[in-house]
């Protein structure tokens, strides 16, 4: 038998990315995410058209919303803060939950495995694709917010949370960094969703379970009596990305967030691997 070139292993990843990003469902999810900054931008524009500020001095709503009318770049931060608790992880939960279970449901999983895709290779490909989706989803929100912000509001130098001024160019750099951190914040949910996906052969059940877990964790994270558990919830440090807008940057919680995501990825990634490589594929 011919020795396969090592690079051919990426043929499956290429195919997987093409397949995922050509699906209507994926495009619809990205479309909804792109619409969020548009809605927020228009709402802020309408509310501040008489010169008042959003949410009064106390500042309700997502972080940074009060600054949008001064500088459109803040719409990027606001939009990410608004979508990170629910919309983004829900979209990731749908894609991750469907990754294996959806193929099992359609029966295509057995044909991929007899091709033979290799169970470990297939799982790694699926996880990589979900991570790429995390990044794509975050960048779609950020890019949409950047454009809408620039169209509806003034742009220019901006003031950090700490009160220092940075240039618009540096602000753009921070925005990109924040988008990357937000994408990395979804890595834990992605691993969790993939694990759930190896447990069932119903794509819908896996998606619903993942999104259900997401909501449950968010609720538990709000219950003061569970204080001791909070640092272990994958969503606990999510909003720490705002610390990137301090001068100097306050790294403490950012690092904790990334560490926690890595832990979730390791634990649930291993669990998914252990499950998937020993599972009977009968569908």
């Amino acid at each position: 038998m011919r020795a396969p070139s090592p690079l051919w292993a990426f043929g499956l990843l290429r195919s997987e990315l093409l397949t995922t990003f050509r699906r209507w469902r994926t495009l619809a999810l990205l479309g909804v995410l792109a619409a969020v900054p548009v809605l927020v931008g228009i709402a802020v524009r309408i509310e501040t058209s008489d010169g008042s500020s959003v949410g009064g001095a106390g500042g309700g709503g997502p972080a940074f919303i009060a600054q949008i009318s001064n500088n459109g770049l803040f719409l990027v931060f606001t939009a990410l803060a608004a979508t990170l608790p629910f919309f983004l992880p829900m979209a990731v939960g749908v894609v991750a939950g469907d990754a294996i279970a959806g193929e099992a449901n359609a029966g295509t999983l057995r044909y991929l495995l007899v091709a033979p895709a290799g169970r470990t290779r297939l799982l790694l490909t699926k996880y990589t694709t979900v991570i790429v989706f995390c990044l794509a989803a975050t960048l779609v929100v950020a890019a949409s917010a950047l454009v809408v912000g620039a169209l509806l509001f003034p742009v220019g130098d901006l003031v950090t949370i700490s009160g220092t001024r940075i240039t618009y160019g540096e602000g753009l750099g921070r925005a990109l960094l924040i988008a990357l951190v937000v994408a990395a914040s979804l890595v834990g949910v992605a691993a969790l969703g993939l694990f759930v996906s190896t447990l069932t052969s119903s794509g819908i059940a896996a998606m619903a379970t993942t999104v259900g877990l997401l909501i449950t964790v968010q609720i538990l994270d709000q219950i003061p009596q569970l204080h001791a558990l909070h640092p272990y919830f994958f969503s606990h440090y999510w909003l720490s990305f705002a610390d990137l807008m301090r001068e100097p940057v306050y790294w403490d919680e950012l690092v904790r967030n990334l560490g926690l995501q890595a832990l979730y990825a390791a634990v649930f990634g291993s669990a998914a691997w252990a499950r998937f490589t020993t599972k009977d594929i009968t569908s």
Partner: protein
């Protein structure tokens, strides 16, 4: 067979129109294999010691058998014993019919052979290597259609094949498009290749599934009920395709509950019932197991029955103008002469070949019903 047809001008000739020149070739192969494959399970067990034993002892066997299982058993979670101590030997170059009623464990066996499920006990070797252990090296040489086709409805037929081909790390991406086009052509789907698979009819899906199994030259083709959902024309095409592949040297393992289908294309067959193997061997041997019957058509059935008994025929049954019997051992020409001499007006005289269905019923002692 040649002898029988010389004396049975009027006998039913199942599917003779279907037996093309390729069939002659496969018949040759079949008789050659018969010597090595043997009937029943004695052969493989004796010659194929499993496990840590030296390869050399089983070398000849392993090279010869494309599929060899030993005491292969699967109990599903939930307790259903689906396959029970299966010893199966599929000789290289054969068209092997895997026959059994619904729920007899055919698909379960195929899943184990393809490494989709883990056997509860026992072992399986495919292309000479253990499964599921050697899946990575074995499966690129195997094309499979398991429990019907499964497709990505949102992709076109062509894109479905491109995806399945990309999943095979042994498939050369440089020749991918050409191989996909060739496979589409082979199953007659070129015109519908650009259509979304969601919009395919059942038969079109089945063809696309077959195309996926034919993306590369294979040493073994495993087809689980490949003619499901096909129209008669489609069935004929599949049979022609199977013969063509077999004449190229591909071993074809074909599961079915359609006895006709197995009889028409297979050189070898195995029969399953309730998870157990009932028999395996060359098709000719299997149907020979249930011997053909002598059939006399005559307006004098009572006389004919009496003469046949005198001539030593057993189990004589007369129904209207047809008298059937187990043929006696001596020359049938003498039997015919005796009938004529006794004044019986013989309108038809011949041997009716036993069908695989007769063989099946004789073997299982039951009809072709679903086991509980």
């Amino acid at each position: 067979m040649a002898e029988a047809s010389a004396t049975e001008p009027e006998s039913r000739d199942r599917g003779s129109a279907d037996r093309g020149s390729t069939d002659l070739g496969s018949a040759d192969r079949g008789s050659a294999d018969r010597e090595t494959a043997g009937r029943q399970t004695a052969g493989p067990e004796a010659a194929n010691p499993e496990g840590a034993g030296p390869e050399t002892a089983g070398r000849e066997r392993a090279d010869d058998a494309v599929i060899a299982t030993r005491a292969l058993t699967k109990r599903y979670r939930g307790g259903q014993l689906a396959v029970d101590g299966l010893d199966l030997t599929v000789p290289a170059g054969s068209v092997f019919g895997f026959l059994g009623p619904n729920g007899s464990g055919k698909t379960t066996t195929i899943r184990m052979l393809m490494g989709l499920i883990e056997p509860t006990s026992g072992s399986a070797r495919v292309l000479g290597r253990p499964m599921p252990g050697a899946a990575r090296t074995v499966l690129p040489g195997v094309g499979a259609l398991i429990e019907g086709p499964a497709l990505y409805g949102f992709l076109s037929g062509r894109d479905n094949l491109l995806r399945y081909d990309a999943a095979d790390p042994a498939a050369d991406p440089r020749t991918r498009r050409a191989r996909v086009s060739a496979a589409l052509d082979r199953v007659g789907l070129v015109a519908a290749a650009g259509k979304k698979a969601r919009a395919y009819s059942l038969g079109m899906k089945q063809r696309l599934g077959l195309a996926a199994a034919l993306l590369q030259p294979r040493r073994l083709l495993v087809l689980d009920e490949p003619t499901n959902g096909l129209d008669p024309q489609g069935m004929r095409e599949i049979r022609a395709l199977v013969r063509e592949l077999a004449s190229d040297g591909t071993t074809v393992f074909l599961s079915s509950h359609l006895l006709d289908e197995i009889e028409q294309v297979c050189t070898h067959a195995a029969v399953m019932a309730r998870g157990r193997l009932i028999t395996q061997g060359a098709v000719a041997d299997l149907s020979a197991g249930a011997r053909g019957r002598l059939v006399v058509t005559t307006p004098d059935p009572a006389d004919a029955a009496r003469v046949l008994k005198e001539q030593g025929a057993g189990d004589v049954v007369a129904v209207e103008d047809r008298v059937t019997a187990e043929p006696p051992d001596h020359d049938l020409a003498e039997v015919n002469a005796a009938l004529v001499a006794a004044g019986v007006r013989v309108r038809g005289f011949g041997l009716e070949r036993a069908s695989l269905e007769d063989a099946f019923v004789a073997l299982t002692g039951e009809g072709f019903d679903v086991a509980g």
